[in-house]
Amino acid sequence: MKILVTVKRIPDPDESLKFAGNAIDTSSSKWVANAFDEYAVETALRMAEHIGNKDRLAEVIVCSVCPKDKRQHVTQFLAMGADRGVIVDADETAMDSQTVAKLVAEVFRREGCDLLVSGKLSQDSEGNEVAQRAAGLLDLPQASFAATLRWDRGANALTVGREVDDGVETKTIPLPAVVSVDLRIVLPHSVKNGATADDHKYSDGARLASLRGITMAKRKKVDVHTPAALGVTPSSHVAVAGVTAPEKRAAGQIVDSAQTLVNKLITEAKVL
């Protein structure tokens, strides 16, 4: 079993936005790993490891489209426990999701993977596209927004609880497949692989990279490809027309009674 996990670096979403003319100024930004990709790697690691045993049930490969010298996030994921990395050396900030999805699909094909796990979106652009596009390009079944996942190794299939608007939808898909994960996939009991005891309680959240893991990560293999070598020509079907800050929220009003509030909601806000 080979699991490919997509990972991306983004400007720290906790920093306040700075603008340079018509664009966001990232010149002093701290680049961090996309949080949903941390959940994706955590998912893959929980599938791969057999708690209480040394054997691993899967190889976890992290794949990132990024300049090859800006790979700290890749090292971070190797430090968390991924086995090796693949970098597609390119300026991802100038690419649209379709190009990224093509690159990911091509890496998936060449590595002969069985499962692609992605975060449901990246926190910078919030596109929520790569996993679905990759599934289409690879012509594989997909389950997006996974909140729970059970791997049935005998049947070579995954049963995925998907968070959708009206609740949780449960889907069983055969492998190979594509899964995108949501926040709740990192709750203590969300992922089961049939080897680790079903009642094993993981720590809440994605694991942090330990110092030992960080030092070991330096010794793990990372292959670097170019888009050209993968046969993908970067296209840009999407162009950025401009970026502006959202309008400042106006100060709120304090009203003296519930009746006034209802009146205002009807007459001023016109929402009732």
Binding site: D14, K18, A20, D25, S27, S28, K30, V32, Q72, T75, Q76, A79, S203, G205, L208, A209, S210, L211, R212, I214, T215, K218, A251
Partner: protein
Amino acid sequence: MSGPNPLVDDRDIAFLLHDVHRAEDLVAYPAFAHHDRETFDLYVDSVRRLAREALYPAYRTMDEHPPRLEPDGRVRAHAIMHELWPRMVELGLISATRPEAVGGMALPLLVSTAADVYSMAANLAAFGYVGLTRGAAHLIEAFGTDELRERFMTPMLEGRFTGTMALTEPHAGSSLGDLTTKAVPTEGGHYLIRGSKIFISAADHGITDNVVNLTLARIEGAPAGTAGISLFAVPQRRPGDGSGDDWVDNDVHVTGAIHKVGWRGLPSLALSFGERGDCHGWLVGPEHRGLACMFQMMNEARIMVGLNGVATASVAYHESLAYARERAQGRPLGDKDPTRPPVAIVEHADVRRMLLRQKAIVEGGLSLVMQTARWADDAAHGPPHARKRAAALLDFITPITKSFPAERGYLSNTLALQIHGGYGYSSEYLPEAWLRDQKLNSIHEGTTGIQALDLLGRKVLREGGRTLALLAEELHAAVAEAAQAGVDPRLGQALQGAMTTTAELVAHLGALAQANPTEALAHATDFLDLLSTVVVAWQWLRQATVATRCLEGLASGRGREGFLRAKLATAECFFDAELPRVAALAHRCRHDRSYVELDPRWL
């Protein structure tokens, strides 16, 4: 709305770690060759996240529910420590700086400092268990036999045991030479320990199976005073007589739990050893050399206490900064229109005064601790020719690193409370808790008074100012560099002036010490205050120099511009608010005879 308290400013950590103290240079030392900037940043990042996501949310409940002595004679840490401890261990906090040979990762102390400050700011008490265990394990690593290492050090580094330092006795606190805990040699190679200790932090908690007390005691027949003190490992449970894994009770008893003002998540206990005559201790290091060995742990602990002080001031500073941005009160001076909405209090100059003063203490103090850590790395692993100098400077600066953040940090913590107005005086808000925590830092690991005697008596006067001269070289170099970088010349001149004042005062005290040593030392604490102020001003000058260089060629409004401008303003604040105290303190050291000659009976 602002987000949760960041504990420490990430931009400042990056600035101090990389731009000012140049962590990447350390990679050139063979001991650190397996690291690079990425490993440094990733480690700091992991610890920062643990601090924000797990340690900080546990702070308030640990403060509100301190451990008690239970009817069964045991003390149990807050239940949440059972979750926090394995996570801190797993990240590598205990063994980070130790060599790979003992299971560590040989991380520079400088980098570990940049990470630890987050944990301490988040939850001083939770980190306390780590700090004590680290120091105790390092003592055995340095002075213990292979057997002791295997039996006690390895389990501590792996987080299976914790450690303590057991020095203080009810009648022997600052004056350790008076301690009376006794050790009687046996044929079995171990000693039988008997005596009482007090204030021993983390000596019982139930988080791990065992606690190893690194204990100072006097071997029967040893000379009086500090020359007769030896160091022992005295575990709570000891290996049973049979081989294998059976561990038996070692006759160590908790006789009381101190009800503390702060640091309430970490129990500090009264202990009694050998009530049944069956408390085994194992000698660590040579007989009668215990205090010298223990100084390794104490010196490390003193640097850690300095960082505790910085961290506790930092978290309160950030809390007060967020509060000042949100709390609406009053209108700009001269605006008399009551129909206009009030402004956030950060708009008032006096509130900004309190914020900047805190920032000057916090970031100046952090730079001081990092400088100290850098010297520790240089002394242990630097190029051979530079080690002696770094070791001398490290030893010299330690009392300053220990006490400046505690003393000025306390002022900083009161300002954070003050910014909260009446709410700050309520325990619904956290600044009062940090104020309580901060106070300990001027007491444990040697009170400020004891640090002052160490600095002036042992390090300045007895040495004839030799290391002080080395320090002065560093300061002169920084003044020259600042001038070259185009820093406001006022700052360099002010530091130069303060150095001249210091040199003249030292000459005066040196002469006085020849005639009357007691009188020369009477103002030791004022001298400590004075030299600390000069040293931190130096750190601010270095920061101003780096900030000025980074600003060059940076377009207005771009990148780190705001951060760097604030650095320059804060440097200026330190030079205007703190450095002028040097002249007053020097005057006091020379002329104030009020308490030198005061007869205690008159009080």
